[in-house]
């Protein structure tokens, strides 16, 4: 059986760089950092006092009563999904909702709700705990709210693979359309955990940058002075659509999702494989799935989180699976690490690089690692034709996801 073509017809996002895709993309091309100092009182005693927070608070978009029932991660997923839906021209288009599915996850889930309601439980007792607590903290909550908003009836799925979640959700969306179960899938990721507990937890793992005195320079993938990732919050959503379905309604197509490759390391719960073996296999699978030769991939939006070990392991994987010819970028240098939303936001950046013929820069790459033998679009955006590009995502647990997008 031949696989049906799947294309991307809509994009939506709310990020540390902007409240929508257009403002986020403009900021990326300008090389702007979304990282700042945490001015909240609770941050004062933390070893890590920087993060990349949303530019547009959900309260500026959704009404107060609605937000009472939504965890922040759910609210921003809903906002990004509404944008993507409208961007795809599907608002009011009368789509058959029995052929509409959702695949959207979060790395951590409704943590802010869990902790806030636990405070209420401790201070005011069980009767004061909100009746909305469970639907706000359940990990499928963001996907379920998006499905509810759009009336999706072909299945609602919440992928969880830590920092690979957003990419894996998109890969699942591809499978769903190929299987024939849906014509359109709303796919992506969301994360909102800027709170002392995860900051302390990640800091305890020594995984985070402590460059508190210079937040905008803290996220610096492949730079010799990198000292860990910077936590970010946000959501990214794409509309995946069977190509003939998109053509029949005359939809604007950004790019084709040509293939996906998924593997697991079987190595360590948090450490990436030092040679990037699982990542290399994921990339090889994505190429095979897409029927694209390694030599034709001209750009990679890397996972590159700015941790000492992970960044160079990925370079080894890229070298093994693709060669040294693609132009790399690490947009986390600007957005910070959006955990479960990272793969979705970086897929959007990859798709727009193809669509617009420009690769967003990697900022702060002032002193590259000696082993970095692949060209990086450092400091400035790179204008070039991008017929095929790859997006890598890896997650705690040893998840590796490679998505291959091509120009239509």
């Amino acid at each position: 059986m031949t696989k049906p073509d799947v294309v991307v017809t809509g994009l939506g996002a709310t990020t540390p760089l902007g409240g929508d895709v257009a403002s986020t993309w403009d900021a990326m091309l300008a090389g702007r950092s979304g990282v700042g100092l945490l001015t909240q009182e609770w941050a004062a005693e933390l070893p890590v006092r920087i993060a990349a927070q949303l530019v547009v608070d959900p309260s500026e978009v959704l009404d107060r009563v609605r937000l009472r029932r939504l965890d922040r991660s759910e609210a921003i997923a809903l906002i990004a999904a509404q944008q993507a839906w409208a961007d795809a021209g599907l608002a009011g288009a009368g789509l058959d909702v029995e052929r509409l599915a959702v695949s959207l996850g979060s790395g951590i889930g409704g943590l802010l709700t869990l902790l806030a309601q636990d405070d209420i439980l401790e201070t005011s007792g069980p009767r004061r705990v909100s009746p909305h607590t469970v639907p706000m903290l359940m990990p499928n909550g963001p996907a379920a709210h998006v499905g509810l908003e759009l009336g999706a009836q072909a299945g609602v799925h919440a992928v969880a693979s830590a920092c690979a979640t957003g990419a894996e959700a998109i890969a699942l969306g591809l499978d769903i359309i190929r299987s024939g179960r849906a014509d359109v899938v709303i796919a992506g990721g969301t994360e909102a955990v800027v709170h002392p507990l995860p900051l302390a937890g990640f800091a305890a793992m020594r995984a985070m940058s402590t460059r508190n005195d210079d937040p905008e320079r803290a996220s610096r993938p492949w730079d010799k002075a990198r000292d860990g990732f910077v936590l970010g919050e946000g959501s990214g959503v794409v509309v995946l659509e069977r190509a003939d379905h998109a053509a029949a309604r005359g939809a604007r197509v950004y790019a084709r999702l040509a293939g996906a490759g998924l593997t697991s390391d079987g190595y360590d719960i948090v450490q990436p494989h030092p040679e990037g073996a699982g990542a290399a296999r994921a990339i090889a699978r994505a190429l095979a799935d897409a029927g694209v030769a390694a030599g034709d991939v001209v750009h990679v939006n890397a996972h590159a989180t700015s941790t000492p070990v992970g960044d160079m392991g990925e370079i080894k994987a890229l070298r093994a699976a693709l060669g040294t010819h693609p132009v790399l970028t690490a947009t986390k240098s600007m957005t910070g690490h959006l955990l479960g939303a990272a793969g979705a936001l970086e897929s959007i950046a990859t798709i727009l690089a193809i669509h617009n013929g420009v690769i967003p820069p990697t900022i702060n790459l002032d002193d590259p690692e000696d082993d970095l033998d692949i060209d990086v679009a450092a400091h400035k955006a790179r204008h070039m034709e991008v017929p095929a590009a790859l997006n890598n995502s890896f997650g705690f647990g040893g998840h590796n996801v490679a998505l291959l997008f091509t120009r239509v």
Binding site: D63, R64, V65, R66, R69, R127, R128, P131
Partner: protein
């Protein structure tokens, strides 16, 4: 406390919890049918009303509170 004062107090809770316009709140209005208050929000209304009016509204009593007037009568008696 007069029935009117209780109704006004409930209207403030309904606005806060469920976004109901205070002008729409009247004794004959049904919480679910007219004011669009779903079951989870009704729980919030009950807990907020207990606090505001210093009463106890048992869970098995809540199902009998179909209209704003039913709630006003219960609070009037219990207060």
């Amino acid at each position: 406390m007069t029935r009117e004062e209780i109704t006004t107090g409930l209207a403030a809770i309904l606005e806060e919890v469920a976004g109901v316009a205070p002008a729409d709140v009247a004794e004959e209005k049904s919480f679910t049918e007219d004011l669009d208050v779903d079951s989870l929000s009704m729980v919030e209304v009950v807990v907020a009303a207990e606090e505001k009016f210093g009463v106890k509204i048992p869970d098995d009593e809540v199902q009998n509170l179909k209209t704003v007037g039913d709630a006003v009568s219960f609070i009037e008696k219990a207060a």
